[in-house]
Amino acid sequence: MIRHRIWSATALLVVFTLFLSACGGTAPAVPSASNTTPQAAPATAEATQAAAAAATQAPAATEAPAATQAPAATSAATQAPAATQASAATSAATQASGAAPAAVQLPADAAPREQQVYVAHYDNTSDFTTIDFFESVYKRGGAITELLSDSLVRLDKNFKINPGAATKWESDSTGLIWTFHLDPNLVWTDGTPVTADDYVATFRYGADPKHAWDFTWFFNGVIKNWDDAVAGKKPLTDLGFKAVDAHTLQVETQTPAPYLPAMMLYSNPMQKKALEAHGGLYNSDPATSVSSGPFILQEWKKGERLVYVANPKYGGTNKPLIQKVIDIGAAPSTDFAAYQSNEIDFMSGPNLSPADNTIVSSDQDLQKEYHPHYGDFRTDYLFFDVQNPPFNNLKVRQAFSHVIDRDGLIKSIIKPTQGIPAYSFLMPGFPAANSEGLKGIQNYDPAAAQKLLADAGFPGGKGFPKITLWLRNEAPVRQALAQAIAASIKQNLGIDVDVSNKENKTFTDAMNAKPTQIQFGMVSYGMDYLDPANMLGVFKGGGRHNWNNKEFDDLYNKASSFAGDPATRVKMFQDAEKLLVSDVGSVFIYHRTPGDLYRPYLKGTELEPDQNGKAAQHWPGFTTYSQLVGSMYVSKDVTTYRKSIPQ
């Protein structure tokens, strides 16, 4: 009996091991990819066009380098320092005098300073290793990060690119060399000034093969010698980043890159001195942490909480009104309970379960606190292995594109508050989006679909192999969506489709395998920066999918580095997208329009309606990439919600 038990123990352990491994597929609260990208935001066509235009303006000038003018924000503020614009006003004043930063004036309706605390949750079931972008992009746990230094540019609620750490920038006549002029008022908390050397050191760290940064692909093909440096073929000193003097940073690109200022949203520096002394994780511990941004790190209990307090030495133009940020580690599924219990001020909308959404839509107060926006311009789409039968046949792909009743799916499954139908890739509001123009190509037309399938040699689905639709660890709502799509394919085309929701990395590995291991799948993509080159890049040959189209690639490459008239550039991207839609490189399903919940006592100019009338915490949320940091405050109404000041 006893001996028997040893064996049963062994057997149990093996079974347990197997079980744990199997759990990977069904683990609860697995963070979705989209969670790591910041929350969300509305935009209008004009606003984003403006951003693209601002970016392309400089290289267009062929004679003297055209400086991109600092937008109105700061200068207007000096003129009329209204109570609600206090932050902009003070920072403008600071900039003008160059003196030590003055104490921030709170707006008249603001709660006292000690109440200026902002509490939110981060996902503590996801990978959370660092609060520094250049240490890791995908291991930031969806937490409030990037508060410890200013990037060169930042976005306002209309997605306009505004000066950040760079007061102005220009490119030379070749469009290859960009010069960024740094704000001399920025200092690190150890008293040393922020210099161009810090930026150069940060980018070198990003490219360092020993560091093995997870976001190097972002600058691939853009920054001079970046690819070679990452591959270890060229020294880091050859990178296209140069400190001309203490406050002048020069960036050299491989080809003209009119979108460079937009890309430089991701340029918040680490301190060269701290990097050399403590390595890239120096901000993991308040003792070694150093900041030149609006906040300093006060506490970081791994897996539990992260606390920042306003940086008294901050000399930049994004001076915060919020004095303390408490970010609590929690599984996303628990956010709504904490929100309802007044423990957090903000919750990310995508973390609401369908049941939670029902509660929100039936509660008047909660409804008012729900702020829909355009997220990161994310589009969900179907993709195929187009190199092999049956999907190498365009008619088959076209047939699939015509059997999806997007309007019906949005109405019954996604809900109109959460998404809009997609017949093309770029969402309305994103630069170069052409939704109306492309709408007719993949329209819902079952009769045409049946004919196309018959023409392709599969009348009524006869002879068509049974296929499986792969999903990447999707939320229940998109599992339902996929089931409905499968049913629609069966009903209209007579083709059997299984739906299989795969574990995240299993799916990604299979999708990226060359040749791909996914015959038919559904996945989404959201932008990293506001330029069509970013979104459309996902369909470039040799990229995510095996739809390789030379004409598309040529158009895409030409448009990406096109430094001429912005309108021409937009047209080139639109032509490329039209090819993608007509050749059915993908079947587009819907654009996500998520929203967030936040309490009405969170106020500020950046939270007021944007050009499109949407009031929300715009992408990229509460980070120095956004002017939100210098605008948001807690109003007096807070006392009706909070019983005590969060500690």
Binding site: A9, S21, D127, A212, G232, E304, K505, D509, N512
Partner: protein
């Protein structure tokens, strides 16, 4: 006894080697790695850099031997999730929390369960028995995360009596302990009841009664002692379950324990942490079985260990 123990301990070493090999092979056979390719495939150079950084560019058997070599020296590596800590530091930080939650649960749930079982057995087929049976069936059949969600909705969201989670002070302990404890309590109650009922029919109980002992005395002194023996088999394995933390309850109530690492290490492909948690579980389960076997010889003189 000593010879028996020695035999068992040698067996354990074999178990450990087997577990480590199976775990190592399985975790490396899942697709993906400690890198993210969700946006687009990584350029080969970037991918190679990451693999080299984590030592994953070497053949698997070399990786295994290196791992075991370091592990024997007490070095379990650095967690990919928490590169500022060693795996042992992470476990050292989080396990005490799980131990405390598990310990509190055991202290509350088991005596309560046994008590409930005794009452149900003594008052067999009365309404008290039915209520106790109902409660324990509920505790056994409703998963702890459902109970946790109910508690959360009731006490935190509706009534605002307790915070929704965290781990600071007794107010944050109540809900996790109840959610975690209801199952084991029910188990203890069910087994105590049936085992006690069986024992109560035994001849020696009739003898005790005949001697004129009071009902309470018969149960406490004679019946219970034997009725509790089967509980060792049943409740022993509950201990490692409870003290290693459970992902659901810890995640729902934001308890910063070890539980979540059992799952997060897998989907984040955090190989060092995954190996360490596997080995920890192996250690706990095997010691628990060993201890319960030894405990048998103490409480039940009929049981003899071979080699004695």
């Amino acid at each position: 006894m000593a010879r028996y123990l020695l035999g068992r301990l040698i067996g354990l070493v074999g178990v450990f080697i087997a577990v480590s090999m199976v775990a190592f092979l399985l975790m490396h056979s899942i697709p993906g790695g400690p890198f993210d390719e969700e946006k687009s495939p990584l350029p080969p150079a970037a991918r190679a850099n990451i693999l080299r950084k984590y030592g994953l560019d070497r053949p698997l058997y070399i990786q295994y031997l290196r791992y075991m070599g370091s592990a024997l020296h007490g070095d379990f590596g650095i967690s990919f999730q928490n590169p500022t800590e060693t795996v042992l530091q992470t476990i050292g930080r989080t396990w005490p929390v799980s131990l405390r939650l598990g310990g509190l649960t055991i202290i509350c749930a088991l005596p309560l369960g046994i008590l409930l079982g005794i009452i149900a057995a003594v008052k067999q087929n009365t309404w008290i028995d039915y209520v106790a049976t109902f409660v324990s069936t509920l505790g056994l059949t409703v998963p702890n995360f459902v109970i946790a969600t109910w508690l959360l909705l009731l006490f935190a969201v509706r009534l605002h009596w307790l915070p929704t989670g965290g781990w600071n002070g007794w107010r944050t302990w109540i809900m996790p302990v109840i959610a975690l404890g209801l199952g084991p309590m029910a188990l203890a109650a069910r087994y105590t009841r049936s085992s006690l009922i069986e024992v109560m029919r035994a001849d020696y109980i009739r003898t005790a009664r005949a001697k004129g002992l009071s009902g309470t005395m018969v149960i406490m002194r004679h019946a219970l002692k034997n009725a509790l023996i089967p509980l060792i088999t049943i409740l022993g394995p509950q201990v490692p379950n409870l003290v290693t933390g459970t992902i659901f309850v810890e995640v729902i109530f934001r308890v910063p324990g070890l539980g979540k690492f059992f799952v997060s290490s897998i989907y984040l492909r955090d190989y060092p942490m995954l190996m360490a948690t596997m080995l920890l579980v192996a250690l706990l389960w095997s010691t628990t079985y060993l201890l319960s076997d030894i405990l048998y010889t103490v409480v039940d003189p009929r049981v003899r260990l071979y080699g004695d």
